[in-house]
Symmetry: C2
DNA sequence: CGCCCCTTTGAACATTTTCAACGAACGTGG
DNA sequence: CCACGTTCGTTGAAAATGTTCAAAGGGGCG
């Protein structure tokens, strides 16, 4: 287990104020079914920003000033172990929400770090609280988000925490593939932290899948996956 | 992994209608800060019932007709794997809530089974939905419950899914001890399903802790724990 | 070009799983 | 009341799996 804590330099760029009304992922986003009048209640700015790989959206223990909607890229939620190691407890993708606890005024339980370049909307806690008092819609949405978070957490435990290293890696790829059987992957250390195995074991498993032709590395960490074969592995040993 | 699915005969006894106003665990329960007028909105009966070990509160896929407040005992939330095995994704104790998703009208994601004799209040979905429309209090409470569920899920992953078998078992005991260093334990098969290890490995780990004097078995599956020594083990190997 | 970081690989070692067997506790039915 | 079958916890021994420590190769960046 890696005892060193990575320094993640602030590396986020402000992209401008978000136009929620015209948001491309609005139907899947937190503000899914807000009405026009709801939007008029927002007076604090919702910033749209990019976050570079390795940079953090927020750190555990930070003042919970905002929550984040992921509009693109991949975010890891990290929890640090008493012995200094770390474990990734969830991966967030387009449409997911990071830092939901901020809406309750609770401290952040994780550190959220971009794995791939991330585009995100930063929604101040005050906006959420204001809206959630005024409109049922948002309340519903928030509840659904929580529900989703629990489901994800359970899936993480069951799918990625059970079975042999090979099977776990196979399942990880299956959770990441797009509609064309391709997927962006990431560093072996993070793979290990997701699956609860060492970096070396993760590397061996990925390397072997490549050798066996279940994965074809188009370019560094971009894979063409043999989805059917992976699925067979996922259940087996 | 055990391929057989246990038959859990219905074995719940009705204890009468609950008196929420005078509930002993009310400050920690779902209805924590309902006002007198809120209670008047309840017209459906909230049943108080006991559930015998091995019996289910509800099964995955059941019509989500109610949620359950655990007033005593120990409940496991089980998810079944594609290969027929099972994994326990959470343990619920006094004050916890099972089947929260019913409040959203979502299907149950788990099967909830009593490990120790359980005393529970069954709250019909309609009651929750009615109250949650009428009163902010309950909305808040529900949100907090979800938050709690996510925290539990993360803790399960990080604390019970990381480290050697011995360390995991030690941490499991630490999550179960009461104020006097005693704790009720449960079957090795369930221990394995919680920790993601085999029944035999679970048995070996517990047996060794007994031999080393970190655990003293007062009577079958009732232990006096050397909390400090367990804590040392929990971080180490 | 040289340095650094990441991935990969090897080999010895540790842990866990698997398969098998035994004994105690329990409840049933004779 | 006792014999029997069952379940559960335990243990042994061999095999499989994962970890650890160490080192080599590759690619990108200054």
């Amino acid at each position: 287990m890696d005892m060193s804590v990575k320094k993640t330099g602030i590396n986020a760029a402000w992209r401008g104020l978000a136009n929620c009304r015209g948001c491309g992922i609005r139907e899947s986003a937190l503000f899914a079914d807000l009405t026009e009048s709801d939007f008029n209640l927002i007076h604090l700015p919702i910033d749209e920003m990019t976050v570079a790989p390795g940079a953090a959206l927020y750190h555990v223990g930070d003042e919970p000033a905002a929550l984040y909607t992921v509009r693109g890229g991949l975010v890891k939620l990290v929890q640090y172990l008493p012995n200094g190691g770390q474990r990734i407890v969830r991966l967030l993708r387009t449409g997911d929400t990071a830092g939901l606890e901020a809406a309750l005024g609770e401290p952040y339980r994780h550190t959220a770090i971009a794995i791939h370049p991330v585009l995100t909307c930063r929604i101040p806690r005050a906006v959420i609280q204001r809206l959630s008092e005024e409109t049922q819609h948002l309340h519903q949405q928030l509840m659904r988000r929580w529900h989703q978070a629990v489901e994800r957490a359970d899936a993480f435990l069951v799918e990625l925490g059970t079975g042999s290293a090979r099977a776990r890696v196979a399942r990880l790829f299956l959770t990441l593939v797009d509609g064309h059987g391709e997927c962006d992957f990431f560093g072996r250390e993070d793979v290990g932290a997701v699956l609860g195995i060492t970096t070396e074991t993760a590397s061996r498993a990925v390397a072997e899948l490549k050798r066996q032709g279940l994965l074809n590395e188009l370019r560094p960490n971009r894979f063409q996956c043999n989805v059917d074969a992976l699925r067979a592995l996922a259940d087996g040993p």
